[in-house]
């Protein structure tokens, strides 16, 4: 494997958790809910994923545990914000703080243990191609899954009644209620999906990216995913562009530091943020497009008359 292949491989593995978490949050936000708990759900997914895989010896069980944990945390958030009508910002922040704290506690016995790595799946024929073969077609299932998931979400929003209903609920919950849609039920579903994706992103960190448990190993990726959703104007394809761009600039910065390029490390560390914001701002210049895709009810509590 040459250096270029190694860089490209690392970019893909660095970008995948961002993409997973961001696509999940995109669905949540499209339904009109702002869940600031992505970081908390992610880190909890990481610790339970690692623990389940270590205990059973199966990475697949680890992935399932990560998804279930993220989903469960999200359902707690949904219960608080949809059923009890709690403030979404405060609840989301609490979920993040809670997740970071609890994951540290739960992860104590697993610190420093060797992890179980989710294996790569070589696609026969294609993985033997020069350069792109090992990079694109010899990845683990979650990389393929994240791309498929993004395409699936885009398809649901563009082509299906379910997607239309989610957009309607996020765009005007009073009207959706007046038409007879169960706003809370739609949002429960979208929040749970977002949580499951965040948990999976966490599991990816502790099962693939660095197959071990390190306290606070999500390191702010949940916040980056949140920002990506907004800068990508709630559009799945743009979220994918943003996630990969961020991953690419970030990893290239690390390599540049590694080979001793004379650029201050602080600048290199901030570069992914700057480049991603600039690029996403450049593609979201169309005001009408932004208006149409922005969920107008985001963050607002909805309590119907009865």
């Amino acid at each position: 494997m040459n250096a270029l292949e190694a860089v490209l491989l690392t970019i893909i593995t660095a970008s995948t958790p961002l993409l997973l978490a961001a696509v999940g949050e995109l669905v949540t936000e499209r339904s009109g809910v702002l869940n600031l708990g992505v970081e908390g759900m992610m880190i909890m997914g990481a610790v339970t994923g690692f623990a389940a895989a270590y205990t059973t010896g199966s990475a697949a069980v680890g992935v399932a545990a990560a998804v279930a944990t993220g989903g469960a945390m999200a359902l707690l958030f949904a219960f608080l914000t949809q059923t009890l009508a709690a403030n979404q910002m405060a609840t989301g922040l609490a979920l993040t703080l809670f997740g970071i704290g609890l994951s540290g506690l739960m992860g104590q016995p697993f610190t420093g243990l060797p992890g179980v790595k989710l294996g790569a799946v070589h696609i026969p024929g294609l993985s033997d191609l020069p350069l792109i073969g090992p990079v694109l077609f010899a990845q683990d299932l979650l990389v393929y899954g994240s791309v498929a998931l993004t395409a699936f979400v885009a398809w649901v929003f563009a082509r299906t009644r379910l997607g239309l209903v989610i957009r309607a609920v996020g765009s005007n919950h009073h009207s959706a209620h007046a038409l007879g849609y169960d706003v809370a039920a739609v949002r429960y579903g979208c929040i749970a999906f977002g949580g499951a994706c965040a948990g999976l992103a966490g599991g990816y960190l502790s099962l693939v990216y660095t197959p071990q448990w390190i306290e606070n190993m999500s390191a702010g990726r949940g916040w980056i995913a949140l920002a990506l959703v907004v800068f990508a104007t709630w559009t799945p394809s743009r979220v994918a562009v943003g996630a990969y761009l961020f991953g690419a600039v970030w990893i290239m910065g690390l390599y540049a530091q590694g080979v001793g390029v004379a650029i201050p490390s602080q600048f290199l560390a901030s570069l992914p943020y700057l480049v991603t914001i600039a690029a996403l701002l450049a593609i979201s210049g169309n005001r009408i497009f932004t208006k149409v895709n922005t969920p107008a009810c985001i963050g607002q509590t909805f309590v119907p008359d009865r």
Partner: protein, 518 residues
Amino acid sequence: MEMMDDTGYLLEAEDIVKRFGDFTANDRVSLRLRPGEIHALLGENGAGKSTLVKIIYGALQPNGGRLRWHGEAVAVPNPGAARQLGIGMVFQHFSLFDALTVVENVALAVPGPFNPRALAERVEQVSAAYGLPLDPVALVADLPVGVRQRIEVVRCLLQDPRLLIMDEPTAVLTPQEARGLFVTLKRLADDGCAVLYISHRLEEVRHLCHRATILRHGKVVADVDPRVETAASLARLMVGADVQSVAAEAQEQAGPVALTVDALSLPAMKPFGVPLRNVSLEVRSGAVTAVAGVAGNGQSELFEVLSGERLAPTPDSVTIAGRPCGARDITERRRLGAAFVPEERLGHSAVPGFRLSENLLLTRHASGDDLVRTGFINGGRTRALTARVTERFDVRFSRRDQEAGALSGGNLQKFVVGRELDRKPEVLVINQPTWGVDAGAAALIRQALVDRARDGAAVLVISQDLDEIFEIADRIAVISRGALSDTYPADAIDRERIGMLMAGAHESGGTPDRDARA
């Protein structure tokens, strides 16, 4: 088995009771509708009309009473169930989604397989059949209000309704658009569809409806044939007393110009906002000048630039009492003798959680009432002024110096108008002075505006209520899509002409077509 004489009715609501906390919105309300009947539901704001139709449509659940459909008892647990029965509803505040296209909005209410392309064809068929032109792929946010209502109507028609409920449908339409709607409703009724029509425009009801049920304080007070009633007799039934009309002495002669807007253009600032286009206006002392127009045609934007919430591009484009004000803020404009009452009572005119005295202080702290000295509030004087306003304008409250949010709409509106009039401003700008206010409070507010003008102030009323405008205005201009027409003396312009201006007759040429004025 049902009794024989029940069989002719499509819908019967019997003894419907709905309570919100201590408040009984519907108190044993009964209503019967036959197929093909256009049935009016009349009453003042808060009489319980909207509550009743929401119960029929399944959006609210009653605390008591029964609904029958074709003589059989039915439960309507949600709007979906109502649509299954064949009940469609066009809402007062439309249940449309700005960010979706016409066909997507329709699809949300139409069950069955999801096929936007086929649905777009059906939308085109139905809209052509009923003379309601619609572009299926247009974005709702880009459409004017009249067209948005068409979407709601077409959406109901696609479901082949047996009963169509319309909640104040003409409040947002020009007279011409309203006539188009009546033609559609009559055709529907001829086809056997019943229409339940909520309105407080009595002339409209007299011409359109076969029966009228009148509600007052949540109870049915009468069930009449509106075609043999007069507007005055219907109003009496609604209010329970004669409604006072405004007494305005003929205006002797217009005074000097006290407020001007000169060739003002402003881009829209909010999403879905309206840009102002070359607006010029002179408001004279001693007279009430009115700006008519359908809601959402730039009224809020005009108000904001007059009050100073938004600054004008050049200082000279707005003048108050001869002084350029375009760059002055709202407090400086108040110091020049101007006063402003915005449209939304709660959250704009008044802070809901603040007491009345605190709300009074918010607009009058700097206008010479000596309420604040070196940063300290004179609480006694503020409360005394508040008491003076509440007494003079008959503001009723349950506790002294109550929070603004606890007052009813009419009482709060009397307070926010009274708060400004109590200052005796030389210039008063007021947006929708009696929107959603009961008839008694509306009459008091209108009289106070006329009196202030007769005392020599320049009063500018922005209103979408043509009845109100003809009652109080000396001079009338019309706003449409951010462009303002010339100002006409009130006796030189009629509803027909105003309707054409509302539809934009003045926008293209720049000068109005003189023949239409004659």
